[in-house]
């Protein structure tokens, strides 16, 4: 069909060439009663809050592919800069790559300005990129960090809108986590209480939302220090099996034994080589 001898240079950005074909395929598949495979999403509960000395970010560790758990212990708290971390919900690849791109750009920016990076800068870079892609990059982020102006926390939506708040939750388990926050959040909490609250909020998401599960990761960011606690709490340890289906030799009694030899002769012999390199 295509007789192009030179490789066509792929221009950056999204290619929508296959969309019409995919829509037709989807319709055909649906007629057969099946559904096409879905992108791997981090179902997710992520949250963050501002406390007395800084911010605490929390996340669960389940990555789902449709109704199946693809990764039982994935890391959803991404590094942006030494003083800024970002939790990601939505399409796993999108959150991973978006945070890496902004992390890289922020490091270059920081070297250029000669100053440690600010959370507001990371927020602006993320929102401008996500807006440019009009929501096609499915990344819902909770961005938190401490800079020269104190602790900051932002929630960033896939279409590019952001909110600056003292406590935020995102992901499919966000309602469960927000319920816990709305009940127990107070401004200027101590570190232990803040960690406990975030842990409980993520736990609420893990136990009440099907898209979230496994362990709870925490990240505590203060002026001089970052505590990346992975895992902070293994809420769902795999149990130990109490029973066993192996039976000892001699459990089944042998009543009779009959041996019938089968006299076979070799008719044809052929050798097929196998390449096991």
């Amino acid at each position: 069909m295509a007789t192009v001898s030179v490789c066509q240079y792929h221009r950056g950005g999204f290619s929508f060439e296959n969309c019409k074909r995919n829509a037709l395929l989807e319709a055909d598949i649906n007629k057969l009663g099946l559904s096409s495979p879905a992108a791997r999403k981090t179902g997710t509960t992520i949250c963050g809050l501002v406390y007395k000395d800084g911010v605490v970010l929390g996340a669960d560790t389940r990555a789902t592919e449709g109704m199946v758990v693809a990764d039982k212990n994935c890391s959803k708290i991404h590094y942006i800069s030494p003083n800024v971390y970002c939790c990601g919900a939505g399409t796993a690849a999108d959150t991973e790559m978006t945070t890496q791109i902004i992390s890289s750009n922020l490091e270059l920016h920081s070297l250029s300005t000669g100053r440690p990076p600010r959370v507001a800068t990371a927020n602006r870079m993320l929102k401008q990129m996500l807006f440019r892609y009009q929501g096609y990059i499915g990344a819902a982020l909770v961005l938190g960090g401490v800079d020269c102006n104190g602790p900051h926390l932002y929630s960033i939506y896939p279409h590019g809108s952001t909110d600056k708040l003292p406590y935020v939750t995102m992901g499919s388990g966000s309602l469960a986590a927000m319920a816990v926050f709305e009940d127990r959040y107070r401004p200027n909490m101590e570190e232990e209480e803040a960690k406990r609250l975030v842990r409980d909020a993520i736990a609420a998401g893990i136990f009440n939302d099907l898209g979230s599960g496994s362990n709870i990761d925490l990240c505590v960011i203060t002026k001089g220090k970052v505590d990346y606690l992975r895992p902070h709490d293994m809420a769902n340890k795999k149990g130990v099996r109490t029973g066993n289906y192996r039976y000892k030799h001699g459990t089944t009694g042998v009543l009779t034994k009959t041996v019938t030899p089968l006299n076979l002769e070799v008719v044809e012999e052929s050798v097929q080589t196998m390449d096991t390199s």
Binding site: A38, G90, H159, G160
Partner: protein, 232 residues
């Protein structure tokens, strides 16, 4: 800007497993909203509710929809949160640049024109209803409205957002030209409370801002302090 697509922009409808991911994880964030601005002699009063919704979930219950564009110019944002934030950031930059070039305070009409240019040029891609209000030395307090579609017009009173439909009657019957600053504040707070009572996409607290020659003063009226109209 964005290229025209041949099929619905909401690509998430292609993968429609809904049990694990409720509706609001895929919907766009919208400032449901009621916004309002009133001119008085010496300045403007601007007001907004504080609710941002994604579908049926309230994403932010304390949103600040009165965004500063310049020292004495604010805008009220309604429509898509992402679109209005991006537009406001762009206009803030352009107006700041323009003001430095002129070495004087920009006109409110200039700010409104910048909004209009952007909202009209990209009218197919954007969903943004904006009310621009401010004070400048040339014409005093002014309110300009730039609704969805990109029209721009100056009005003494302007309301916008999904909750505005419920208060046109109240606004038309209660507005009188020549009200004082306090009367305007009471008028705005009353109108916003009525709208927030009736519109599901509006609620939270009432944020007010008064812009005059002296600058910008902001206030917040919490939910339990809102004026009450009905006894039922």
């Amino acid at each position: 800007m964005a290229t025209v697509l041949q099929f619905p922009a909401n690509i998430s409808t292609l993968n429609n497993y809904n049990d694990l991911y409720p509706d609001w994880t895929q919907r766009e964030v919208s400032t449901g909203t009621t916004i309002m601005a009133v001119e008085f002699d010496g300045g403007v009063v601007m007001g907004a509710d504080s609710r941002t919704t994604t579908g049926a979930y309230i994403a932010n219950r304390v949103t600040d929809k009165l965004t500063p564009i310049h020292e004495r110019i604010l805008c009220c944002r309604s429509g898509s949160a992402a679109d209005t934030q991006a537009i406001a950031d762009a206009v803030t930059y352009q107006l700041g640049f323009h003001s430095i070039e002129l070495d004087e305070a920009p006109l409110v009409q200039t700010a409104a024109s910048l909004f209009r240019d952007m909202c009209y040029r990209y009218r197919e891609e954007l969903m943004a209803g904006i009310i621009v209000g401010g004070w400048d030395p040339r014409r005093g307090g002014q309110v300009y409205t730039v609704p969805v579609g990109g029209m721009m017009t100056r009005q003494p009173v302007s309301v916008g957002g999904s909750g505005s439909s419920y208060i046109y009657g109240y606004v038309d019957s209660n507005y009188r030209p020549g009200m004082s600053k306090e009367e305007c504040l009471k008028f705005t707070a009353g109108a916003l409370s009525l709208a927030m009572e009736r519109d599901g996409s509006s609620g939270g607290v009432v944020r007010l801002a008064v812009i005059s020659e002296q600058g910008v003063e902001r206030q917040v009226i919490l939910g339990n302090q809102l004026p009450k109209f009905s006894t039922v």
